[in-house]
C-alpha cells in the first residue's frame, strides 16, 4: 500500500506488544485529512495499543507509521508530539494538583500558540473559562475530560488520538463530548478514536475499523448504517 | 526434563559432606552463608512476599544476636536454648516494626522509617552497656548444644544446617499455604485483598513477626558463629548486605534467598583470594550489584526457573 497524498496517518503491518506478549499482529490502516476514524473492538483486541504505538509509548517490532508521508515509526512520545500527534489517554493523565489554566498552558509549553489555543479551547468548552483557577483533581470526570481534550488541542495538533473519550461519563457529558467532536471535525481536526460506545462512535465518525486479535478484520463507512448496528456488534464480539 | 520436588532434598544431603573437603576457613564461610540464608529468607517474607519496603531487618538481626548473647552471658543459658527465645525477640521487634505499616505508612516512607528504627536499635545497644557490653561489645561464650561444645566450625555447621533446613522448610510450607497466598494478594493489590475479605492488618502483623522470628534465629546463629557482638556490626552496611541478598537472589523466592546469600557472602572471599585486589571489595561489590540489577532484574532465581520450571516459586508471581 503506497501512502496516498490525501492520507494524514498511514499505518502498515504494525506488530507490537509488551515483552513476549504480542498484541498487534500486523495492523494496517489509514486516516485521511479532516476525517474521523473510530477503532472498534472487544476488550484486549489491541485498540489502545494501536494508539500507544502511534504516539510512541510502545516501540513496534515491525511495520511503519507515517504522518503526512513522513515516517514516525518507533520515535519516542515527545517527538511524535512535535510531529503533530497528540493523544488524549484513557486515564487522561492530567496534572491533578495544578489548575485548569496551568494544565492548558502546559499543553502548549513545547509546541503551539498559547493564546490561539486558549481562545479555541474556550470556544469549544465555555465551561472551562469559568473554572479557570480550579484545581483539576477537584473536578468531575466530564470536566476533567474536557480539560484533557482542551490540553491536547493547545498545540494545534495535526492528528488527535482520543482513547475512549466517553469512558465513565454521564449521558449528558457523552452527548456534549459528541457534539464538540463534530465541531472539531468541522474545524478540520483529524481524529483517530477508540470508543466503546457504539452509538456515539458511529454518530460522529466517518469511518469505522474493527480490530480483533491484533488485526483489522472489517471496516467501512458509517454513512449507510443508520439504525442497523447488529452486524457490527456481531463482527466485534463473535 | 521432568523433575520431582524431592530434588530439593538433595542439596542439604550433598552439603552434609562439605566438612570432609573444606578447611576451617572455608567452613566458616559456609557457616556464614547459612546465617545469611535465614536472614534472606526472613527479609524476603516482608519485602518479597508481602511487597513492603521495610528495612527493619537489621534490627531483627541485631536483636536476635543480642538476645542470644545476653541470655548466654547474663543468665548462663546454653546457646541452643536461646535460639527460640532469640527468634521470639525478633518476632516481637517485628510486631513493633509493623506498627507504622499498620498505620498506613507505605513505600519509601516505610523504608526510611524502618531505617531509622534500625539505627535507633544500634544506638540502644551502645547505650545499655550493662546488658550489651555497650560499644566495647559483648563476648559470647562458645556455643553449646545439649552440653556439647561446638568447638570447631565443623560442629557449628551441622547444627546450623539442621536449624536452617527446619526453618526454611517451615517457611516454605507456610508461604505455600493460605497465609502465603494472602501475602501475595496484599502484595498485588492491597485494597482488592481487603475487599476480598482478607484481614490485611493481621497479615501485616503476621508477616513482620514471622520475618522477625526467622531473622532473629539467624541473629542467634550469628552470635554463636562470630562470638563477639559489637553495635557497629548492625549498621547500614548490614542493610545493604541484606538488601543485596534478596535482590540478587530474586525477590520473593526462597531459592533466590539461598542463592543470594551464597553469592553475596562468597564474593568478598573470592576477592580476598586475589591479594592484589585488597581494598577493592567495596567498589567491586557495588558494581556487581549494579550489573545484576541491570541485566538480571528478577535475580538469579529467574535464571534457575528458566532451566527448569520446578525452581519456579509457586507462591510468587510478578
Amino acid at each position: 500500500m503506497s501512502p496516498d497524498n490525501n492520507s494524514r496517518l498511514q499505518i502498515t503491518d504494525l506488530v507490537a506488544g509488551y515483552g513476549h506478549n504480542v498484541v498487534l499482529r500486523g495492523v494496517s490502516l489509514q486516516v485521511n485529512q479532516g476525517e474521523i476514524v473510530t477503532l472498534l473492538g472487544a476488550n484486549g483486541s489491541g485498540k489502545s495499543t494501536v494508539l500507544n504505538t502511534i504516539s510512541g509509548f510502545l516501540k513496534p517490532t515491525q511495520g511503519t507509521v507515517h504522518l503526512d508521508q513522513k515516517s514516525i515509526t518507533g520515535i519516542p512520545p515527545h517527538k511524535t508530539f512535535r510531529a503533530g500527534v497528540v493523544q488524549v489517554s484513557q486515564a487522561r493523565d492530567l496534572f491533578g494538583d495544578l489548575t485548569v489554566e496551568e494544565n492548558l498552558k502546559l499543553g502548549a509549553i513545547i509546541k503551539g500558540d498559547e493564546a490561539l489555543g486558549l481562545k479555541q479551547v474556550f470556544e469549544y468548552f465555555p465551561r472551562l473559562s469559568d473554572r479557570y483557577d480550579q484545581q483539576v483533581s477537584t473536578m468531575s470526570g466530564g470536566e476533567q475530560q474536557m480539560v484533557a481534550v482542551g490540553r491536547a488541542l493547545m498545540s494545534q495538533p495535526m492528528l488527535l488520538l482520543l482513547d475512549e473519550p466517553s469512558g465513565g461519563l454521564s449521558p449528558s457529558f457523552v452527548k456534549e463530548i459528541g457534539e464538540i467532536t463534530v465541531r472539531m471535525k468541522a474545524d478540520g481536526v483529524t481524529m483517530l478514536l477508540v470508543e466503546q460506545n457504539l452509538r456515539l462512535a458511529l454518530e460522529i465518525s466517518d469511518r469505522y475499523l474493527i480490530l480483533r486479535d491484533g488485526k483489522v478484520i472489517d471496516g467501512g463507512s458509517t454513512d449507510n448504517l443508520e439504525g442497523s448496528h447488529e452486524d457490527i456488534v456481531r463482527t466485534i464480539y463473535l | 526434563m521432568k523433575l520431582n520436588r524431592s530434588i530439593f532434598w538433595i542439596f542439604p544431603l550433598l552439603v552434609l559432606a562439605l566438612p570432609l573437603v573444606l578447611n576451617q576457613y572455608l567452613q566458616y564461610v559456609v557457616n556464614l552463608i547459612l546465617v545469611y540464608i535465614l536472614v534472606g529468607v526472613g527479609f524476603n517474607i516482608v519485602v518479597g512476599n508481602l511487597g513492603q519496603l521495610a528495612f527493619s531487618n537489621v534490627a531483627f538481626f541485631g536483636i536476635g544476636a543480642y538476645a542470644s548473647g545476653i541470655l548466654t552471658t547474663q543468665l548462663g543459658m546454653p546457646w541452643w536454648l536461646t535460639v527460640i527465645p532469640a527468634g521470639l525477640c525478633g518476632a516481637l521487634a517485628g510486631c513493633a516494626a509493623s506498627i507504622p505499616a499498620l498505620r498506613g505508612v507505605r513505600l519509601f516512607y516505610l523504608a526510611i522509617m524502618t531505617l531509622a528504627f534500625g539505627e535507633l536499635m544500634r544506638w540502644l545497644y551502645i547505650r545499655t552497656p550493662g546488658l550489651t557490653g555497650g560499644s566495647m561489645g559483648l563476648t559470647v561464650p562458645e556455643p553449646a548444644v545439649f552440653g556439647w561444645m561446638l568447638t570447631t566450625e565443623y560442629h557449628k555447621f551441622y547444627v546450623f544446617l539442621f536449624i536452617v533446613v527446619v526453618v526454611v522448610i517451615a517457611t516454605s510450607r507456610l508461604l505455600e499455604s493460605r497465609i502465603g497466598r494472602a501475602f501475595l494478594a496484599i502484595k498485588n493489590d492491597e485494597n482488592a485483598a481487603a475487599a476480598m475479605g482478607i484481614p490485611t492488618g493481621q497479615y501485616f502483623l503476621l508477616a513482620f513477626a514471622l520475618s522477625g522470628f526467622v531473622v532473629g534465629i539467624g541473629g542467634s546463629m550469628y552470635a554463636a558463629l562470630v562470638g563477639h557482638l559489637s553495635p557497629e556490626d548492625f549498621d547500614l552496611i548490614q542493610v545493604i548486605l541484606h538488601f543485596a541478598i534478596i535482590m540478587v537472589g530474586g525477590l520473593g523466592s526462597l531459592i533466590g534467598s539461598i542463592l543470594g546469600s551464597i553469592l553475596i557472602t562468597a564474593t568478598p572471599e573470592v576477592i580476598r583470594h586475589f591479594e592484589w585486589l585488597v581494598g577493592s571489595e567495596e567498589w567491586i561489590f557495588g558494581v556487581s550489584i549494579i550489573v545484576v540489577i541491570l541485566f538480571l532484574p528478577r535475580g538469579l532465581s529467574s535464571l534457575l526457573a528458566k532451566v527448569n520450571s520446578i525452581f519456579k516459586d509457586r507462591y510468587y508471581r510478578n
Binding site: - | 570432609l20 573437603v21 578447611n23 576451617q24 576457613y25 572455608l26 566458616y28 564461610v29 556464614l32 551502645i126 555497650g134 560499644s135 566495647m136 561489645g137 563476648t139 562458645e142 568447638t151 566450625e153 550469628y222 558463629l225 562470630v226 562470638g227 563477639h228 557482638l229 559489637s230 553495635p231 557497629e232 556490626d233 552496611i237 568478598p268 572471599e269 580476598r272 591479594e275 585488597v278 581494598g279 577493592s280 571489595e281 567495596e282
Partner: protein, 408 residues
C-alpha cells in the same frame, strides 16, 4: 581429592621439605628455610580505613628487612588480609590466614572488635599475634587492664589502650589543681578502649569525671559538647576521637573560648590536626595529642623511618599528599618488634621459641618509640607509657612527658 591422596600429598611435601632443611623447624607451619609467612590484617576497606597505614608501616619494615637479607636467610612473605573492621569479615580474614595461607603469625590488626572475635581461634591454634588494637582485654594481664594472665601467643609490642588511656589520665592529672574532667568520645570500642582506663585512673586519683559526652562519627559541629563542658567548669578534657572530629572539637572549643586543655588519644596525627584547625591560637597551650615516638614526626631522629617508608612503599600505599603520618610510624613500631622477635628466636624457629624470644625483650631500644619495649611472660604489652605532642609558647612542636615538662 580424597583423604588418601591428600595425606599422600602432605607426606610428599613433608618429605621434600625435611630433605631440604633437615630441621624440626620444617614441621612448623608458615616457615621454610628461606621464608616466613606473615598474615597482615587490617581495615583495607570499610569505615576504619584511615587506620590502614598501620598495616603498611609494618609491611614497609618487613620489606626493608628482606632487602637487607632477611632474618637468618629467611625473608618475610607478607600476605595482606582485609578485615573491613567488621567481625564477620575479620574472622574470615584471620581464618584464611590460619587455615588457608598457613601463616606463621598474624600481625597489625588495628580493630579491637575483630581482635576480640578472633582471639578464641588464635588461642586454640597457638597462633602468634602481635597487634596494635586498643582493647585491653585482648592481651591484657592483670597489670595492663586484663583480669588474668596474658594469652600465651598474643602480645602487643606497642602500648595497648589501657596504658595509652591511663597515660592520658596521668598527663592531665599532672596539671596542678585538676579536680574535674570531661570526656568526649566516639561510641565505639576504640574510643572506650582509651577513655575507660583514663576514667579509672582519674577517679583513682581522687578527681572526678563530671561529664562523659558522645560525639558521633561525621559530626560537623561540637557546640553542644563544648557548651556542656563549659557549664560544668572542668579543668581538662579527654578527647577519644578520630582526626576529623577532633578538629571539629578543637574549633568549637576555640570558638566558645573554652580555655581548657584537650588531650587527644592516638587516633589522629598531631601535625595534621594543627594544620586542619588552621589557627595556631586555637591549639597552643590547649591541645595535646598522644605521642609514642622518641622525637617529633619529621625530625632527624626519625628520618631513617621516613626513608624506609618512602623507599619500600608504593605510591598507592603512601599518602596521596604529604609525608607519611603518625600511623605509618606506629606500623613501623610494631614491625620492628615483630622482626626483633625473629632475630632473637634464632635459626631454629618455632612458635614456642618465637614467643620465648619475644618475652626476652627487656628495655629494648627500637630506635623509634620513646618508651623502651619490655615483654615478660606475665606482661604481654611492650610499652606502658606515652608522651604528648603540643605547641610551646612560640608555636613550636614539643613533646611533653608531663604537664609543662618537655621530654628533651
Amino acid at each position: 581429592m580424597n583423604a588418601l591422596q591428600k595425606s599422600l600429598k602432605t607426606a610428599a611435601i613433608a618429605i621434600a621439605i625435611a630433605s631440604v632443611s633437615g630441621f624440626a623447624a620444617a614441621a612448623e607451619r608458615g616457615i621454610t628455610d628461606t621464608s616466613i609467612k606473615i598474615g597482615n590484617i587490617g581495615p583495607f576497606s570499610g569505615k576504619a580505613a584511615m587506620f590502614n597505614p598501620l598495616n603498611y608501616g609494618s609491611v614497609a619494615y618487613m620489606r626493608y628487612v628482606n632487602d637487607m637479607g632477611g632474618v637468618f636467610g629467611r625473608k618475610f612473605d607478607v600476605v595482606l588480609g582485609d578485615t573491613a573492621c567488621a567481625q564477620a569479615k575479620g574472622i574470615a580474614a584471620a581464618k584464611k590466614m590460619i587455615y588457608d595461607e598457613k601463616v606463621f603469625m598474624i600481625t597489625v590488626n588495628p580493630c579491637s572488635g575483630v581482635a576480640m572475635a578472633i582471639k578464641p581461634t588464635l588461642v586454640k591454634e597457638g597462633m602468634p599475634w602481635s597487634g596494635v588494637s586498643a582493647n585491653p582485654k585482648i592481651t591484657g594481664s592483670v597489670g595492663s587492664g586484663g583480669t588474668s594472665a596474658p594469652p600465651k601467643y598474643m602480645f602487643h609490642v606497642t602500648p595497648n589502650g589501657y596504658f595509652s588511656g591511663m597515660t592520658m589520665g596521668k598527663f592531665i592529672m599532672t596539671k596542678p589543681n585538676t579536680k574535674k574532667i570531661a570526656i568526649v568520645a566516639h561510641t565505639n570500642d576504640w574510643a572506650r578502649g582509651y577513655c575507660d582506663p583514663a576514667i579509672d585512673y582519674i577517679e583513682s586519683q581522687g578527681a572526678e569525671v563530671v561529664l562523659d559526652t558522645a560525639m558521633e562519627r561525621g559530626s560537623t559541629d561540637a557546640t553542644a559538647q563544648v557548651l556542656q563542658i563549659k557549664t560544668k567548669g572542668v579543668d581538662g578534657v579527654l578527647g577519644c576521637l578520630y582526626q576529623p572530629e577532633l578538629v571539629v572539637l578543637l574549633k568549637a572549643a576555640h570558638k566558645y573560648k573554652l580555655n581548657t586543655p584537650i588531650i587527644g588519644a592516638l587516633g589522629a596525627d598531631f601535625g595534621q590536626v594543627v594544620q586542619q584547625v588552621g589557627n595556631a591560637k586555637a591549639v597552643n597551650g590547649v591541645f595535646f595529642q598522644g605521642h609514642l615516638y622518641k622525637d617529633k614526626i619529621g625530625s632527624p631522629a626519625l628520618e631513617w623511618g621516613k626513608q624506609i617508608l618512602l623507599k619500600y612503599l608504593t605510591k598507592d600505599e603512601l599518602p596521596k599528599t604529604g609525608d607519611p603520618t603518625h600511623f605509618y610510624y606506629f606500623g613501623l613500631f610494631n614491625g620492628i618488634g615483630v622482626v626483633e622477635g625473629f632475630r632473637r628466636a634464632g635459626r631454629d624457629l618455632t612458635r614456642d621459641t618465637y614467643i620465648k624470644a619475644i618475652e626476652t625483650l627487656s628495655d629494648y631500644d627500637n630506635n623509634i618509640s620513646a618508651g623502651r619495649v619490655t615483654i615478660t611472660p606475665q606482661q604481654h604489652v611492650g610499652v606502658s607509657d606515652m608522651y604528648f605532642n603540643g605547641l610551646d609558647k612560640d608555636g613550636n612542636e614539643v613533646i611533653f612527658s608531663s604537664w609543662g615538662k618537655a621530654l628533651h
